[in-house]
Subunit: 261 residues, 2 copies
Amino acid sequence: MGGPAPLQISVGAATAGVTLVGVGPGDPELLTVAALRAIRAAAVVAYPVAQSGGDGMAAAIAAPWLLAEQRRLPLLFPMVAEAPPRIAAWHAAADALAVEVAAGLPVVLLCEGDVSLFASSSYVLLALRQRHPHCPLRLVAGVPAVCAAAATASAGGIPWPLALQSEGLLIRPTPETAGELEHLLDQAAATATNVALLKLGQRWPWVRSLLDRRGLLEGALLAQRVGWPDQLLAPASAVPSGERAYFSLLLIRQGWPAVLP
Amino acid sequence: MGGPAPLQISVGAATAGVTLVGVGPGDPELLTVAALRAIRAAAVVAYPVAQSGGDGMAAAIAAPWLLAEQRRLPLLFPMVAEAPPRIAAWHAAADALAVEVAAGLPVVLLCEGDVSLFASSSYVLLALRQRHPHCPLRLVAGVPAVCAAAATASAGGIPWPLALQSEGLLIRPTPETAGELEHLLDQAAATATNVALLKLGQRWPWVRSLLDRRGLLEGALLAQRVGWPDQLLAPASAVPSGERAYFSLLLIRQGWPAVLP
């Protein structure tokens, strides 16, 4: 018997230049065919790291698809608030990629999630355009964490359509203050907008109280490390107060459309 | 020489139940590995059609990955404003899928873009939970059109990060009136939120005038049929007034963060 034959995906000739590749939020199965082809055709695999010698999340996600003979190029993006070291890091990353391209090597830069949504690759893109305007560039879109969280929740018995009909979906970092979040939720409710709050992290205790007060805790979904072996997806009401992981996110729906099955 | 060996992806044993599969916005290369595995393991491939005998966009996107021996199951979702025929269609789709599952067949339902974002699959999911609560369900997240549009624009020389740092991204249908859009853009500007307006279609003439009046035309990006052979991506200023395709979208950025490369 044996079921259907394995899929065979051809890998084309490598093209010179940098390909920014979204690898999705955690599960290596969420890489696209375009991402796989770009990665397999690359001689150099670059990826962001937060500290020298550290592992990168994007590289960890793509790990099952990488080849031993591909050269690794970790790019240091320090997680600091000050602007100068971040700007210097973006410039250094662009220059390092341009050096490989000038040597004739096809390069990929792996990016967690999608390449255009809160992505280090967006800064590298801007720096490359500025400093190396003739460097050939491609981008491969990826699955955003918010989409993976909604799909995983729905599969797990908590149906979570991100947006239906005339609703909106707002994706943004968690506000810094309760006042800001109150205002944001008022606006969202008035415009039938569902909200995805990223980087919940240490803000969870006061966010939880606020949602509780507004009667939104039961319908909200907390997602953390979606697609990783230690993922957490739960109704926000089931997640106790306390600090959460930096890459946790919250989905908030304050209403439903009138027409539903 | 011959370059790297082709990638071989194994197809696991089919599992009973329905898998809702996001196939991305147009390019068959944007299907994920998880999507390919689910599709190849299916005996029945269901997909939405707007009229009986019509072709479905999701089926067209997945076409290169489908096998001749897989049974096609078009599901009719009429594009009408009235609620009763739409509700009846969601119920009928859920029932048709449940029949296949009851017969022991693994089924996929293909969905354009992501499965949770303005997707027919969200209604089928809700109808299945309601009418066939024991039907096993999986979801495979997909690449949203907005992400593919941004990546394609950036690769084409119009760098379009959807969101950076503390910015927000609001994805929603185009408002019905100029007054609503004015209000939306005021709110978005005040909260550093970039806006993706879907289903631009026949609203383009008055939306264009409004953006022009606000000085936003040059920085806005119009995208249509992203990933299809006839895709259009252009600065909104380059797209003349007149009706656009139903599935056209507009990306609007009213400012930039202070810290950039």
